[in-house]
């Protein structure tokens, strides 16, 4: 297909269907519009949860009560966690970029079930609103932490049921999206696009969708059990009634560990699209990257016990889960080596998307390696439930998934909106975000190792230096985030018009106009070779 720049066409942004104005968005079954609606909702909630985080950091700037009571602090970290985990990072990349780009990357006009797609969006919205309302309705904000551990989540007098129901609904939405993507990938690839000719972002979405489908029902039933426990006093998890709290931890992590792979796999997929484009070189080890996504999804299912090393599980099971935890690091490392090898010898163009992608590798490495410290049985005892865990988690989720999301936004923004942001300003924002991020979280690794517990609103004087640096870092980080946001918002309408292919990418999305027309392709392309083919050179097969 040729570049249609200058030709007359109507983009999905201007298209008027059965309805006009706002309704043409709210009732649209177009995957791109749904993707954008998710994007706006998620971005809004992201800034809500960031503000909550900022309040917590401000509280921690000095020991003792600074700006809020301990109970408020408990509510804040719970809702920060619930919003960030269940509304932003679990669905995040897969509903925004998966919806928008999965069909385009595989040469389809839409997902397999467009109406179901819209339905999942509204379920998502309902769950998201309920999660926020749980802050204000009933007997005060839930204070259990996002993990809802029993017995406290059964005993707490706060509004836990509302939060549990919100998480259940969000899970249901996640399942429906997963089903949609699996069927889309199986049934709607363009002619000639075999699985091994599929770009790697769809591969990662495919692996993610399977985890969504196979793991989410477990958390669904677990949350229902906790709700039943609170409402009727059934006693599954209450030792006084014969139940077993450890059973809850098992059930919870059977889902929630695979869930971190639901978060990170699409992130890996996004950066895998970025490295070849900005190195102008085919991705190194296509097969290894594709298969490692599936391997991560598979092994990731069997490592949940590493969250419970101090819960009194048997020595043998701890050994087993520790071994598997080390094994699951292997396919992740394979990907990292492949990304670096993709850049090696390429003609590197250090634009904002690549900056974020390189930042992703750096932060993800720190997150991954600190994860192994916790995966080892002996060191786990030292760092369990400390700020070290918090720092590790944020390095993986924010440094990994968050940076990949920013990379994806800067990579696909011109395609999604047909406008180009200010590249220089975006680079500066990246420097601020990257600096702020490390200032924020690195001290947490240190004071965590020294024994600062997580989820405490107060601390001993010796942790003061670390906490203050962290708080300053968090302010810098948020400044950077705002700079990024302003850059994107300001250029959304007034920016320079972006060409169809600003980065000289070779995957299918760059071969249609920016922004794409309603049905993506006038003629469904026929795929004759593997993706990432940058013309003849000695690197091509």
């Amino acid at each position: 297909m040729t570049n249609q720049e200058g030709d007359h066409y109507i983009s999905y942004l201007d298209q008027q269907g059965k309805y006009r104005g706002l309704l043409s968005w709210l009732l649209s079954t177009d995957h791109k519009r749904i993707g954008l609606m998710y994007f706006y909702v998620i971005a809004t909630f992201f800034f809500i949860a960031v503000s909550l985080g900022l309040l917590m950091r401000t509280e921690l700037i000095a020991p003792g009560e600074t700006i809020m009571s301990p109970q408020t602090y408990n509510g804040l970290f719970t809702v920060h966690g619930i919003i960030m985990i269940f509304i932003i990072v679990i669905p995040g990349l897969s509903v925004v970029f998966g919806n928008f780009f999965l069909p385009i990357l595989i040469g389809a006009k839409d997902v397999a079930f467009p109406r179901l797609n819209l339905f999942s969006f509204y379920l998502f919205l309902l769950g998201a609103i309920m999660a926020v309302l749980s802050q204000f309705l009933g007997d005060g904000p839930p204070d259990t932490g996002w993990s809802f551990y029993v017995p406290y989540s059964v005993e707490s007098s706060t509004n836990v049921i509302f939060a549990l129901t919100a998480a259940f609904i969000l899970g249901f939405s996640s399942i429906l999206t997963g089903i949609n993507f699996i069927v889309t990938i199986h049934r709607m690839r363009a002619p000639g696009m075999t699985f091994m000719r599929m770009p790697l972002f769809p591969w990662s979405i495919y692996a993610t969708a399977w985890i969504q489908v196979l793991a989410t029902p477990i958390i669904g039933i677990t949350l229902l059990m906790v709700i039943a426990e609170r409402l009727f006093g059934i006693g599954f998890f209450d030792p006084a009634l014969g139940g077993d709290p450890i059973l809850f931890q098992h059930l919870f992590w059977i889902y929630s560990h695979p869930a971190v792979y639901i978060m990170i796999l699409p992130a890996m997929g996004v950066v895998t699209e970025i490295f070849p484009t900005f190195s102008q070189k085919p991705v190194f080890g296509y097969t290894a990257i594709a298969i490692s996504s599936l391997t991560i999804a598979f092994i990731g299912y069997f490592v949940w016990g590493h969250h419970m090393f101090t819960s009194g599980t048997s020595y043998f099971s701890r050994l087993f889960f520790s071994l598997l935890t080390f094994l699951v690091a292997v396919p992740s490392a394979i990907k990292v080596f492949n990304w670096v090898a993709t850049m090696y010898g390429g003609s590197i163009d250090l634009k904002p998307p690549l900056l974020y992608a390189v930042g992703f590798i750096f932060l993800f490495m720190i997150g991954g390696l600190t994860g192994l410290i916790q995966g080892a049985l002996a060191t786990n005892i030292q760092v369990h439930d400390t700020a070290f865990v918090v720092a590790h988690f944020h390095y993986i989720i924010f440094g990994g998934m968050g940076f990949a999301a920013f990379a994806g936004i800067h990579y696909w923004y011109p395609k999604m909106f047909g406008k180009m942001y200010n590249i220089r300003f975006a680079n500066i924002a990246w420097v601020v975000i990257f600096t702020g991020f490390n200032l924020f979280y690195f001290p947490q690794l240190v004071i965590g190792m020294q024994g600062m517990p997580r989820r405490y609103f107060d601390y001993l004087p010796q942790f003061k230096t670390g906490q203050v640096i962290s708080t300053i870092g968090s302010y810098i980080l948020v400044t950077g985030l705002l700079m990024m946001l302003i850059n994107l918002l300001a250029t959304r309408k007034k920016g320079k018009t972006a060409p169809a292919n600003p980065w000289k990418g070779v995957t299918l999305e760059w071969q249609i106009p920016s922004p794409p027309p309603l049905e993506n392709f006038d003629v469904i392309p026929e795929i004759k070779r593997r993706p990432y083919f940058f013309g003849e050179s000695k690197n091509d097969k």
């Binding site: 269907g17 839409d110 949609n180 059934i234 006693g235 014969g242």
Partner: protein, 204 residues
């Protein structure tokens, strides 16, 4: 492409079936969580489970099994009838399925109200004074059969929609994906009951 082009929707029967099968897997996993909890507590409190199960009414359980198994057969037959373009027969068979489902629910109602009359319900004083294993057994019993009954109810709504659509001729020989998927869903409801029945009623 015109300015008012309505976004065309893709129709693919295979995709519809694939999606339904994956959805059914998620349903199995949903109940799977409960079966797991059942397994753990049964291992811990096997004597109590034995004792508590003997208090359930096996006759009602058996009757319900017969109802559901028969209804699974009639829903399968209705799909065959549609394939053979016999809409009236298909209509009748879906109606029979619905009636059997209704009988199942009536039966369930009688069973539960009988138990409630003896103050056996989650959180009741009678239950709390029972041995721990029996309490957990009844907790599981109400949770599992309750969730299952909810699925029966959803299945009945689906079947009613099918009934109307067959009547109106929207579902016919060349377009019966909805009926087929509802049939699959109904078989799942049946399948789960086939595990619930021995685990709850026959372990005594």
């Amino acid at each position: 492409m015109s300015d008012h082009a309505v976004h065309s929707e893709h129709y693919d029967r295979e995709a519809g079936k694939l999606g339904m099968w994956i959805f059914l897997f998620t349903e199995l996993f949903l109940f799977g969580g409960l079966f797991l909890v059942y397994a753990v507590f049964r291992a811990t409190y096997s004597a109590d489970f034995h004792e508590a199960a003997s208090e359930l009414n096996t006759f009602i359980g058996t009757l319900n099994t017969v109802f559901l198994l028969t209804s699974s057969m009639t829903v399968a037959m209705s799909i065959t009838a549609i394939q053979k373009n016999n809409r009236i027969l298909a209509f009748m068979l879906i109606l029979i399925t619905l009636l059997l489902a209704g009988l199942f629910m009536v039966d369930k109602y009688i069973e539960w109200s009988h138990e409630f009359a003896y103050k056996v319900y989650p959180g009741s004083e009678v239950l709390k004074n029972m041995p721990r294993g029996e309490l957990l057994f009844f907790g599981l019993y109400f949770m599992m059969t309750g969730l299952h009954a909810l699925h029966v109810f959803i299945g009945m709504i689906l079947l009613t929609i099918n009934l109307v659509k067959v009547k109106k001729g929207i579902i016919h020989r060349d377009n019966y994906l909805l009926l087929e998927n509802s049939g699959l869903y109904w078989h799942l409801v049946d399948l789960i009951w086939i595990f619930l029945f021995p685990l709850l009623y026959l372990v005594s």
